[in-house]
Amino acid sequence: MTKQAVQLSLPGFEQAHGGWRAEYGRQIGADRTIRNRSGVEIKPLYTPRDWNGDAFLENLGFPGQYPYTRGIYPTMHRGRTWTQRQLIGLGTPADYNKRVRTILDAGATAISLIPCNSVFRGNDCDEVDLPLLGTCGTVVNTADHMDQALDGVPLGNISTAMNDPSPFTLLAFVLAVAKRRGIPWTSITGTSNQSDYISHFIANHMFYRLSLPGARRVLLDHIEFCRAYVPGWNPVSVVGQHMQQAGATPVETMAFTISTALQYAQDCIDRGMDIDHVLRRFTFFFDISISFFEEVAKFRAGRRIWARLARERLGAKDPGSWRFKFHGQTSGVDLTVQQPLNNIARVAVQAMAGIMSGLQSLHTDAYDEAITTPTEETARIAVATQNILREEAHLCDVIDPLGGSYYVETLTDQMEEEMMALIGKVDEAGGMYKAAEAGLIQAMVGQSALAFQEKVESGEEKVIGVNCYQADNVAYAARPTERPELERMQQHVASFAAYKAARSQTDVNRALDTLKRAANSEGENIYGRIVEAAEVGITHGEIVSLLREELGFGHPLVVV
């Protein structure tokens, strides 16, 4: 472990330290106990008696070197800064296309797509209430829709993240579009950034509702397919964000996320895949809260734990498998409806924590995200926040700038120890799949959510405008809420219905039959059949409902 063994010889240290402690005690009076969100007690001062650089190479080393505590690449942000990846999803595919082009013009270097909640529910647009369509994501149900959404977007040259739970129909549509445009799949890069089905069962429940075992199989087929045919694609993104948003502490989040990654890795090994072939394409996706130092320690500890477990437990030999690549999103949980412009300041602090943690990709929230889907103007401010931090604040000059801080190193060690204890607890429960199935994780996350809420209500945890400084709550002159134009959405639904009616029913039936056979044959890769179905015009809803029939329907595992 990372405990200190050697005490540095510091002549006069004890006397000076004792003198400071006496003076501190005299001036502060009755000191209060401060704990971070993970429950670690925070001292007023850290010194070389807490951390002294002992076991430097073993615990920290250099960027790009095992165990990667200081960063996964030798150059980090001084070489290539993080990818600016804003999550976008709204309206019809045409609306999305307009917004995505605006964001690319504003300096974003990668894109993402959030589908409408109807898509998350496994429904096509003709099956749900019209007013709910396109309010929180784009209504994409077919390869044609994806083609419209990505019109003019250079698919082979830009990384695309698809918010696409199992069975990954959005990627199937992207691959179909690439084929139409003559773009080889080998040049397609990006991430299936909602592939972590366990996190959906535990936390945000935004998944296509395949059963737990069904989702497990489809994920493995998806990984195998992508490794064979779309080698630049990251088929796995293990999502800590859902759990932290649902209330897990930063320590719990990192521990459970790593336990989940261990589960998926083990499943790949059990299926006979080469661990080094798959792990190099594992990515992670986290929330970044405003608890600044705690977040930095969370990511540094997580990087170190993953490197060690990937090497020692999973037996990975390629350094590419040990590197903990992660996307961070500034946490919406910290944002407030009260005094919403304050959220710009919150997002800047959250983003700084992520950047100083050495993230690979970042989404900054728009300040109105606590209220509604961002407008074009608020989305621009969110991107500008990243530009300011990168260009004006000089955050990229030094790698791991907080490394070596007595405080941050001590906290990194302490949080690592607690994370390892929780990972051990999940191991005892039989791994993450079983722990989630038994409701163990949900119960812990729920407890933490309630405990945090109680701290906010008691005023122990301050939230500006919510439990203090409310006097400044002036009426926020929100512009009228923008909702997708019902008429345009109705047209979208009508043309979808017409599209379905015009298809050759024989072709549709043939594709669905093939998919059904694949679902019932264990040896066959179901994801290859899903991509084929997308190519011949089968819709999202058709694919999902067939798979629910064949592989089981997924109910969220809710524990109150």
């Binding site: 007013p131 729920g446 309630l450 939230v463």
Partner: protein, 149 residues
Amino acid sequence: MTACGLNPPARVLVTKIGLDGHDRGSRIVAAYLRDAGMEVIYTPPWQSIPAVVKLVLEEDVDVVGISSLATDHLIVPKLADALREAGLGHVGIIVGGIVPDDECPALLQAGVSAIFGPGSPRDDIIAHVAALAAKVRDVKNAEFREIAQ
């Protein structure tokens, strides 16, 4: 008598309709009401409107609490209509979560008695639900007396 003044205690359904699955808020509010002595019926997200109506009827619910974080509040008026059509127009409805200011009037007109946004104090929610449940119970008791006579 219970903590909230009704005997038997107020029966509250905490649920989500529409398409969103985020449930941190609904779980917390359910725990608050339960801890205040009410009987809470809690469901996973994505209940259909007919399923909610059925639950209200079968569970003899006094107040329905709808949690909406991602625009599902837009179909709450449809739920209110469905309850009225089923002869359950006296059942209270509250909404919690994110409802933009300019979309509140439509909900209130549809019969929602209160909308609790982020930062609403726990005690306000409990007091409102308790008072609303008492009112609903009066209507139910009057109906019962009518039938009994």
